[in-house]
Amino acid sequence: MRRIPLSALIGMILTGGFLFCAIFAEWVAPYGYDEVLGKVWESPSSTYLLGTDTIGRDILSRLIYGARITIFVALAASILSFSLGSFLGFLAAVRGGWIDQVLSRLVDVVMSVPSLIIALVLLSVLDINLTVLIFVIGILDATRVFRLSRAVAMDIAVMDYVEAAKLRGEGQSWVIFREILPNALSPLVAEFGLRFIFAVLFISTLSFLGLGIQPPLMDWGGMVKENKDALVYGKSAALMPALAIALLAISVNLVADWVLTRTSSLKGGRGG
């Protein structure tokens, strides 16, 4: 295995750190997420490492518990968008004909409007809860996965081994899951990182607008919203969750970038 570049290593360590905090929040966080401890918007000190928030709760602890919700929702949404998008994409590529036409045109329509606008229209009718948010983000994002996986599968579907499998009399699901999926996996895995970031940014933006995670649960976007008035008084409370979002996005980006170049060079020459 070749050496991992420094940027990817930093990205992996940071991503790993975020995941660790999210999973073991109970042990990592110094205080509970809803304990009122100090005064309003205290500056960072040795007791409260990142200061306190709008009603005196420890920001660091809330960030750590918030990571759990942000990462869980984003992960669930990107898994949903991947399974849905890639399955339908492969199906469209293998079957062609009217299935391909219907799915592709539907995706064209959804992608012709910004996702945020569609999400806002949907959330004005639906009850806002975790499941609905995951489904809205996942389905809107599935359109992008659909385009990618359809394009990738189109190239694979004309290969000789797929032809051979069809002549052997294998069924549709065999062709999709046993012939196309393994060969389409590497570009899709790299794309997963980018979709995950997109989901993190999307759920954070929705929460910031007050239409995402609802109290008493909280995520990073919601924390920025709660503390946004602090900036007027010169306190940095709103910057901490904003910084966390930026850091997570950049570190996952670094890893995804590396996976992308690695897998694309793998396709070129296996010898290297």
Binding site: P114, L116, I118, L120, L122, S124, L201, L231, A242
Partner: protein, 318 residues
């Protein structure tokens, strides 16, 4: 018919069809979702009689298709109906705010477009040397930030660290143009930052793509200065991709505007939309959503039309 004209007409017709389908999606698609408008206005404790009366007055008992066509007919004539929450005329409310949104977006565009093209040119000229690395590095990190995060960094920097601006952007009728410009300075900076990165990177890529061609090598070999090669030989051929990049990113501004308006409590269309989503005021959301979708699709059509017109191969058919 001239083939270019035919292509353009085809593209516009396709766009209008798309707009129609999107309007159906926004209206009928939303109707099909679980949730009852009358129930959400009156709350859970409403009596069946009260619900029935409200449905009657709102016309909710008619079939969805009838209501869709009524809605579309009204929409095309500038009649967006009345808001559920306060009974105000939606068209009037939108009219007040549309100007503010357009003002904000056009200020951002006026700064971002030339800046992105110049930075893209510089980055392409000094490819893989320090100016390119600095510009690309900064844009790469702003690309992965959501609008509101970028906004708070800018607010903190420019109101606390270097206190030159106010953190809220208040615009009211009767303000002078300069006062307005001063008020929107911060949101404009944020919007510029958000679209600049995409625009600059795509400009750089478009120019570098042209720089690979044989005629650029000829120009270099006959001894022209690098800046002249770019300005006279590369730029004219990169115009088409650059213009479509610019227009696509203006479409991207449409989304950025929604979030940035909320950050700065700027009284305009995006803020109006978000407010009424949380109030579950469906007619307002549908009308404003449709306007945003329309502008977005319109700009995308424009980008395609410009690309068609700028392509010399299509202009001079065999």
């Amino acid at each position: 018919m001239h083939p270019v004209l035919k292509l353009v007409v085809q593209r516009i017709a396709l766009g209008l069809l798309l707009l129609l389908v999107v309007s159906m999606l926004i209206f009928i698609g939303v109707e099909a979702l679980p949730g009852d408008t009358a129930q959400s206005i009156l709350g859970q404790s409403a009596t069946p009689q009260a619900l029935e009366n409200l449905r009657q007055t709102l016309g909710l008992n008619e079939p969805a298709t009838t209501r869709y066509f009524k809605w579309l007919w009204g929409f095309l004539h500038g009649d967006f109906g009345k808001a559920l929450t306060n009974g105000q005329d939606i068209a009037a409310a939108i009219g007040q705010r549309l100007g503010n949104t357009l003002f904000l977006a056009s200020c951002a565009a006026v700064i971002a477009v030339p800046l992105a093209i110049i930075l893209g040119l510089v980055a392409a000229r000094y490819q893989a040397r320090w100016p390119d690395k600095v510009i690309s590095g900064i844009t790469l990190s702003t690309i992965s930030l959501p609008e509101f995060v970028a906004a708070y960094f800018v607010i903190y920097l420019l109101t606390q660290v270097i206190p030159i601006f106010q953190p809220v952007a208040m615009v009211f009728p009767g303000m002078s143009f300069w006062a307005k410009l001063n008020a929107v300075a911060l949101p404009v900076i944020v919007l510029v930052l958000v679209v600049l990165a995409h625009m600059m990177r795509m400009t750089r890529a478009a120019i570098l793509n042209v720089m690979e061609s044989a005629y650029i090598e000829t120009a270099e070999l006959k001894g022209l200065s690098p800046m002249r090669v770019i300005a006279q030989h590369a730029l004219p051929n990169a115009i088409a991709p650059i213009v479509s990049v610019v227009v696509l990113n203006l479409a991207y501004l449409v989304v950025g505007v929604v979030v940035v308006e909320v950050v700065f409590s700027y009284n305009a269309l995006g803020q109006y939309l978000v407010d009424h989503v949380s109030k579950r005021d469906l007619p307002v959301v549908q009308a404003v959503g449709m306007i945003f979708a329309g502008v977005y699709i319109g700009l995308n059509i424009l980008a395609d039309v410009v690309a068609i017109l700028a392509n010399p191969r299509l202009r001079h058919p065999k």
